[in-house]
Symmetry: C2
Subunit: 592 residues, 2 copies
């Protein structure tokens, strides 16, 4: 139906007769002539109709925004002075000869060049929102990213293998989405949170290298940037160690950024232990573009009378840190109040600070509501340890360790962005040497920090003697403050797997019920293996500069897990429920 | 951990020291020497340990089948007379120097070289079944097929776009798998039977060319070759007509067969109308390798006294056909009884036949239990119309049209295979000009033969005047008797879509509830568009020569939709159900 895409045309097509299809982006009447900007996925081109051909002109007069047209015309240079340098096709226009209206359009509820449309409206009329060039670019970049990743992995001998979506409920972590079975009364499938066990089984099947770009599901309370269904690049390799998989994945991401964005990522990626990352940045996914760091000062505060600091300083589960903000002296009272509110989100009950006006002036050169509670030696030691200079501001966090880490860790990144301190565009990092377990105070038991199939760094008695200090062979790839991938070497020995289940308080019967097939499989020659999974939505979001993963998904759900376009989820008939051997709790109550 | 895959080695590696990882396929002691066939995904290689190094030899003695090893050794030619031509590595062996047991194995429940293991056992121990070279080849061919299809479509400008898995229940066709929502009490998502509406919305979004290799779900009673979840290659294009999409898809399949199987498919594929296919072959997915055809003889039978023929011959909903089997005179009584039983599966109440022994002998040259019921002129007309020759056998089908079509259509293909009549290896075919609607006698209403979004061949009044004769712009790609792909040009005008909903008895309120978003979208500039979906499992099954789609899926389900490996579906806790606002019907009854 066409000879070219609109956006492909340029002066080299001069004098050619072309046929185009697309949408009316704009229509203007000017000097007795009709100008139509025709849009398709490749761009815009200007088509001109003059009144010489009365019939065609009359049709052109009918045309409105978002009408679907097929046109035929001759390419010609634009008259001098009307060239549009901002447009790929801006040197030319089409002198329209024919015009067919393929479909009409009512006035659309979203204007395509309005960037301020509310997200609800965008999601409800997604098919119009997706016509916007920005959204088209993002969706196309996503396809380019997956294609690039597939090509890399295909060439490295990885086999693309599909795993089931209707599978068994998993025990740890987030809630499963359940699917009632019609043929097995009272039983349920679960949608996979990840293909973890299947990819391990594929290694036991001798597939050697596996990958899959696969949908995963988590029925979580949705935070700002989570979706009930999301896409993972899932990778697993046999007969390898930590080094092999990390190097392979690093190469993959490096060539991805080079090909798609023409960006050179460092070779190799820097690495940091979990312990160091928590200490210096308060979390395990630090944004390395931000030069600010958390500096421990608990040892300086143990004997001060200021309880807010001395308490956490003396508490083995507490932490006291300083965060020096260069030129922070410029912050207004109002800005500081804003940051105090910000750390409150993370549970911090306040945000102490010292402004360093003039070091040479001693205490008088400092300005702080807490100064009066701190002895000279403590103040001097802080100034020295933080390397404070005139004009700086030092923030403090003092509380339970996790509150300090979360609040001051978040403050660090916020200050980095607000104050324009970020250095460099892309800063990847491997975080390694994660703890094997963390103690769940609520449940009074050890839980797996990654998942219960992660191999410990040292096997044998060591993990049982002190689970709290045992390290795992897990690794996370972090980019600009986001965890974009995570994985581990897996347990390949049955005895070690049983030991870990044991430590996690998973009893033999429960282990057999839930993981019997895995424990069985470990009996019949399981190779050493490990892998990684990348969050594709997050990765594409970062690469495309979008601010939400919803902007790189064609049909995302809202934060309450509903689809505004189709109105899913929706009610179903009683007959459907009866077929599935279930009934609604609510309806049942009413009936009684 | 290794320098090569086992199967890669050959005489060109002579004298190299190599390191390999893999499974012990076989271990033999022979003349004081231990031979280990080491297997990985690329093949087998023979490793020899002699007693010179006592420690390594002792380890080699421990080794059993399916142990996981890492070995180091030197490649050398096999001694004369021991070369194995059947093995890629058969000219060489490895003189083992080191041997590390990475993991042990109990005696596996499946022997890898036993081709007669029951399918239940294979599915339960799928991770062992998948180690078999045949299964490895199939899974790898599947990856090769998807890679090839993706490359073709990427190069043709199609964009790979993901659509939701948690979506809205669809109204027509098979049962949906439902997913209860936790955040929206009493509401349910449905897993997609296909991304049909989303891909149409993507065309309305101006994406122009879309594809996706996507999981689909149907909660049907599973026939021999169906799975509750299956994979589709889904394609859609804008601004095209039937010809464009059919030619593009044909090219795709042609280059797929050329690249993967080195097979030249015809260019172009032959085409046949639905009506002709039903008439000549009894179904709309004829195996064109089979030269047999159904020949209508109702006109010859209307006045015979033989009620079995005359009844259907006079019934407007009946059909009487002959099927000539060349050299069918060879069939034994027992074989004919077998075929009679076979057509019984499809509802036929018998299978009349005439053996043509010697035409020159008139009636005496024929042999048949029904001969006495038929007058000479009818018999002669049958012989002439079927072109019968000495030694042939003519089968007859006479019943309601659909029973004749199904039974004799199936018999035709079975005879073709049993009697070695199949001509050529690969015979693709387009079937076109499908009816738009079929009348559901049970429900007393018209239903869509494809789906309600399929465009009619002629718009306007014609479809309303006589829905039974209206043709659609649907097309199926058939290969060797299987429908491998099907699609259509879609309705892109709102008025036509409403007209079709109307004819299907979908009332305005119901249409708005279920398809309101589609009808809405049709208001805002929908381009002409159409597409196709291929059943990937079926396609790979045919290409790999497997006899079931289960053999080209890594982790398939049984015919009762359960997974023997993981024991899914399984029971879940009452708490989980409560979170989802549902309860079991059964359990509830007991409680009362």
């Amino acid at each position: 139906m066409r000879t070219h895409y609109c956006g492909q045309l340029n002066i080299s097509h001069n004098d050619e007769t072309v046929e185009l299809c697309g949408w009316v982006h704009r229509r203007r009447d000017h000097g007795g002539v009709i100008f139509i900007d025709l849009r398709d996925r490749d761009g815009l081109v200007q088509v001109v109709y003059d009144p010489d051909d009365a019939d065609t002109f009359a049709t052109a007069e009918e045309v409105r925004g978002e009408y679907v047209l097929r046109i035929k015309g001759r390419v010609r240079p634009r008259p001098e002075g009307t060239v549009n340098k901002d447009l790929g096709t801006g040197e030319i226009e089409i002198l329209g000869q024919e015009l067919e209206i393929l479909n009409r359009s009512e006035t659309p509820p979203i204007q395509l060049d309005d960037d301020d449309v509310g997200e609800d409206l965008r999601l409800r009329y997604r098919y119009i929102d997706l016509r916007r060039p920005l959204m088209q670019d993002r969706i196309r970049m996503r396809a380019e990213v997956t294609r690039n990743l597939r090509n890399f992995l295909d060439n490295e001998g990885f086999i693309d293998i599909e795993t089931p979506m209707l599978t068994k409920a998993t025990p740890e972590g987030a809630r499963d989405y359940l699917v009632p079975s019609r043929t097995h009364e009272g039983k349920f499938f679960a949608l996979p949170q990840s293909p973890q066990l299947f990819k391990q089984l594929l290694m036991m099947s001798g597939m050697d290298r596996y990958y899959q770009i696969v949908r995963c599901f988590r029925d979580e309370d949705l935070r700002a940037d989570r979706q009930p269904e999301f896409t993972q690049l899932d990778v697993e390799m046999s007969f390898i160690d930590d080094e092999d998989i990390m190097q392979t994945m690093e190469r993959m991401i490096r060539q991805l950024f080079k090909t798609v964005l023409d960006v050179d990522l460092p070779d190799p990626f820097p690495r940091m232990t979990y312990a160091e990352s928590m200490q210096r940045f308060g979390n395990d996914r630090p944004d390395m573009r931000c030069p600010l760091e958390l500096i421990d000062v608990a040892d300086l505060m143990q004997d001060v009378e200021f309880k807010v600091f001395a308490g956490p300083a003396k508490d083995p589960k507490g932490r006291v840190v300083a965060l020096r903000l260069p030129k922070g002296g410029e912050l207004s009272r109002k800005e500081i109040d804003g940051y105090t509110k910000f750390v409150g989100i993370y549970g911090a009950r306040g945000l102490a600070y010292i402004k360093v006006n003039e070091l040479a002036n001693g205490r008088d050169g400092l300005q702080s509501p807490i100064l009066k509670f701190l002895p000279d030696e403590a103040v001097n030691a802080i100034l020295e340890r933080t390397g404070a200079e005139d004009g700086d501001l030092i923030f403090f966090g003092a509380d339970k360790t996790n509150i300090v880490n979360e609040s001051i860790g978040a403050l660090r990144e916020k200050l980095g962005k607000d104050r324009g301190l970020m250095e460099g565009e892309w800063k990847p990092l491997w975080v390694v040497d994660f703890p094997m377990f963390e103690f769940d105070e609520g449940e009074g038991r050890w839980t797996a920090l990654h998942h219960p199939f992660t191999a410990p760094k040292f096997e044998g008695d060591s993990i049982e003697v002190n689970p709290g200090t045992a390290l795992s062979r897990a690794y996370d790839m972090v980019l600009n403050g986001s965890e974009i991938g995570g994985g581990s070497i897996r347990i390949h020995r049955r005895a070690v797997q049983e030991q870990v289940f044991n430590l996690l308080g998973i009893e033999k019967q429960e282990a057999d019920e839930k993981f019997g097939f895995l424990l069985d499989a470990l009996k019949y020659g399981c190779p050493p293996h490990g892998g990684l999974a990348f969050g594709l939505d997050r990765l594409v979001m970062l690469m495309s500069g979008a601010s939400s993963i919803r902007d790189v998904m064609a049909f995302p759900k809202t934060q309450t897990a509903s689809c505004l376009l189709t109105n899913a989820p929706s009610e179903v008939s009683t007959r459907q429920l009866r077929d599935l051997h279930i009934k609604l709790r609510e309806r049942e109550k009413t009936a009684e």
